[in-house]
Amino acid sequence: MNTTRERLVAEPERYEFRALPIHQFELARREFFKILGAGIAVFAVAKDALAAQETAPGSPSFHSEELPKEIASWLHVGEDGTVTGFTGKAEMGQNIRTSISQTIADELRVPFASVRLVMADTTLTPFDAGTFGSRTTPTMTPQFRRVAEAARNLLIGVAAKEWNVAPEGLVAADAKVTDPVSKRSLTYAELARGKTLAQNLPAEDPITPATEWKIAGKPLAKVDGRAFVTGSHKYTSDIRLEGMLYGKVLRPPSFGATLASCDDSAAKAMSSVVVVRDGDFVGVAAPSAQEAQKALDAIRTQWKEVPQVSSEEIFSYLKNSAEPSSSERFRREKGSLAEGLAAATHRLDATYNVAYIAHAPLEPRAAVAQFADGKLTVWTGTQRPFANRDELASVFHMSESNVRVIVPDTGAAYGGKHTSDAAIEAARLARAAGKPVKVVWTREEEFTWAYFRPAGVIEVKSGIAADGKLTAWEFHNYHSGMSGIETPYDVANQLTQYHQVPLVLRSGSYRGLAATANHFARETHMDALAHAAKMDPLDFRLKNLSNLRVRVVLEAATKSFGWPRQKTQEGQGFGLACGAEKGSYVAACAEVAVDRASGGVRVVRVVEAFECGAIVNPDGLRNQVTGAIIQGLGGALFEAVEFENGRIKNPHFATYRVPRFRDVPVIEAVLLDRKDLPSAGAGETPIMAIAPAVGNALFDSTGIRLNDLPLVPNGLRKA
C-alpha cells in the first residue's frame, strides 16, 4: 500500500503528457452488439489531426511530448432509432454531455432528444487518457462528427440497397433517409432493424463546417437538467448497494508521518465492524458512517513524524531548492539577453509568489467498490477512469479486464480528481469485508489529503526602449509549472526557463495549471512596464503584440469595458490582462473599489472576451467563462493553503475562503465565435487573466503594486 501511495503522488502537470497504453478496441468491439443489441455502429480511431492544433503557430507552448493520438469513440444506432455515443470522457459540470450530444445530432441529422451518451465506463466506453487539458471539445467534436457522418452514410447505403438506387441521390434528414425522386423514405430505426453492421472509420472524412451547423452552435439546455433540480441524479456519493458498508480511513497527523504502533483491538471488538491494517493503511468499514467513525476513533496509534516545510518559508524554500537542470525541455532562448538589456532605456526586475490553493470541489472524493465473481466494480468521481482501473488492477493484482470503473456525472473536479485514492480505499475495505463499501471523504480530508495547485516563485527581468518596445525578457518559474510560460509578446531577446523543485505538498493539475501563475507574473509585469514607459497599459501591450487572436480579444474586451475609463469615485481602479493557452484566447478588464480606511477590496465589474474557435454551445461556454472568472477571483484575492509542520491549518470552508455570492462582480462575457476555426476547449483558459487584471486594477486604484497571489487575503493594508 505504501509504495502505491508514493507512486500516486502527483507531479505538476505530468498527467497532461502521460504515455498511453494500447487501447482495448478489438475486445470492446466484439462485446459491442452483445451489449447494445442489433443496429448500425461506427468506430473511430482518430489520427494525428488533433495534435496539430497544439503546435499551431502562435500557440505559446513548448510541450514537446506527444499527445494521445489514438483516442477512439464510437456510435450506435439501435433498432428503435436510439442513437448512443460512447466516450471515455467524464461529465463533471462542464456540460460536455450536452455539447457532444449536440454535435452527434447535428451530423447524424437526428433530433437532439434521440441522442444519449454513455460516458467514462471502462467496460462500455473506449479508452481515454482522461478529462483534462481542455481536450474534450477539440478531440471529441471532430471525432463524433466523423463517426456520425460515417453512420449517416451507412444508413444511406442500406436504403440505397433496399431501393436499388445509387446512394448519391439520397438525402438524410430528421432521422430518415429519403429518395427525392420516388419520395420514398425509411426511418433510421427501420434501416437499423435486424442489422449488425459495423464500420471502422476511414481516416479523414470531410465534416460539416460550423457555418452549416443546425443543432450544434445553439444554446441548448443541459441534458438531464430535471434530474439535477429534483435531486434524483445519483452522484457517486449517493449510490447505495445491497449490504453496503461505510468505510473510513485513518489519516496520519501530519504529512510524511509513518505508523509506529497501532492498537485496533477496541475497534475490532465492535460488532459488525471490519478493521483493515495493511502497511500504513488503516481503515474500517461498518453498517453506518457513524459506526465507522466511532470505530476509527477507537483505534490508538503512535506516529513517527518528520519535519516539514511550512507556508511561512515556502517561497524561499522553492527558490533555493530548484533542481539543477540543463534540459532543453524546460528552457527556451532567443536572441541575446545581454544585448537586449544593454539596449534598454528602462529596466525592471520583479519577483512574484503564488500560493498553494485547493480545488475544493463541492462533492468530495468518493467511491463505491464491489467485488463479485472475481471481478471488481468501482463507481467513483474521477477525471481518469482508465488510469483508476489500471491502478486498481495493479494494487489488487488483478487483470485489467476484471476491473471496471464507472464515473457517474460528478460534483466537479477542476483538475483535482485525477488520482484513485478513494477508489483504492473503498476497494481495499470491500475486499476485506466481503461486501460493497462506500468511502466518502470528509471536507477536512478533501482539504488535507487531496492534492493542491502547486505554489511557485517567478522571477522576471526585462528591458524596454524609449519608444516602449520590449528589448529583453527573462522569465524563471520555480515549481508552479510550464503552462502559459512563454510570452505572446514580440521580444527579440528572451530567455524562459522552468525550474523543477521537489514536491513539498502533494501537487497536481488545477484548472489552467500554471497558466494562472505565469499570466499573473507576466501581465502584472507588463502593467508595471507600461507605467514605467508612461504609456496606457492597452497601448503598451498592442505596441508589443503581433499575435492577431490575442489582439482581437484584447480589443473586444477593452471596447466592451470602455477602456480607458475615467475615475469617478474615490478608490476606483481599472486593470486589464490578456493571454493565450491551449488554443484559446482571453482578455479581461476589471474594475475594483478600495476602501482605504478599512482596507476593504471589492471587484465591481469584470468584462472578459474569450475566443476558442467555433462555439459548440454558447450557453455552456458562457457558464465556463463566468465560472472560471468567479473561481479565479478566489485564487486572485484570498485563497491560500496554510500549512505548518506537515499540517494544513485551514482545512475548512470557515477558514479557507472561497468566493461567495457577495464576492461576485457584474460579469460580462464577450464570446467571439470563429466559425472558420476548429473548436478548442474552454474549461481552463478563461481563468488565467482574472488575477492580473484585478491586481492591475488595485494598482490603478492605490498605487500599490501587489506581486503575490493571493493579492489581498486580509484586505488591503494601509500604505
Binding site: 463533471m92 459540470g93 429534483t230 456519493s237 463541492l362 462533492e363 460528478t410 466537479a412 472568472i629 475548512h652
Partner: protein, 159 residues
C-alpha cells in the same frame, strides 16, 4: 445509544433508530435514501445539505435527529407536486442555474424557504440570504437570476 424516533419527511412518517445526536443529514441520506440532500462540509459552512424544518431553511448536517423529530422536514424530493416542479426548481431549470449541480438542491431549498415566507425580496436580500451557500463552479449570476424569476412566479401564483 440508538433510540427509536418518529420523524416526518415530505409528508410521510418514518420510525428510525439512531443515536439522537446523529445529524439529520445522514438519516435522510443513508436510512431514508433521500440522497438529493448533499454532504458538502458537515460544518454548516456550504449549504449543500439545506432542508426545510417546519418551512425554515436549516443545515441538516447541524440538526441532531432529536431536534428534527418534533417538526416536519421537507427535502428537495418533496417539492415536486403531481409531476409539477416547484417554481424555484422550474426557474433554476429555465435559467440553467447549475453546472455540476451538486450545490443546487441546497440553494433551491434555501430559496424556497426565503420566497415562501415572502416572495417580495430585493436583490441584495437574495444575495445576502444565499451567502451561506458555496458554489465552486461559479453559477452565482444565473442562480440570482433564477431566484428573482421564481419570486415573480410565486407572486403571480398568489395573485
Amino acid at each position: 445509544m440508538a433510540k427509536s424516533m418518529e420523524i416526518e419527511v415530505n409528508g410521510k412518517r418514518y420510525v428510525v433508530s439512531y443515536p439522537p445526536d446523529t445529524p439529520l443529514l445522514f438519516v435522510l441520506r443513508d436510512e431514508l435514501g433521500l440522497t438529493g440532500t448533499k454532504y458538502g462540509c458537515g460544518e454548516g459552512q456550504c449549504g449543500a445539505c439545506t432542508v426545510l424544518l417546519a418551512g425554515a431553511p436549516r443545515r441538516s448536517c447541524q440538526i441532531p435527529l432529536s431536534a428534527a423529530a418534533a417538526k416536519p422536514v421537507t427535502t428537495i424530493e418533496g417539492l415536486e407536486k403531481d409531476g409539477k416542479l416547484h417554481p424555484v426548481q422550474q426557474a433554476f431549470l429555465d435559467a440553467g442555474a447549475f453546472q455540476c449541480a451538486y450545490c443546487t438542491a441546497g440553494m433551491v431549498m434555501s430559496s424556497v424557504g426565503l420566497l415562501e415566507t415572502n416572495a417580495n425580496r430585493r436583490p441584495e436580500e437574495i444575495v445576502g440570504f444565499l451567502q451561506g451557500h458555496v458554489c465552486r463552479c461559479g453559477t452565482h449570476p444565473s442562480v440570482i437570476e433564477a431566484v428573482e424569476q421564481a419570486a415573480k412566479m410565486i407572486e403571480e401564483r398568489r395573485r
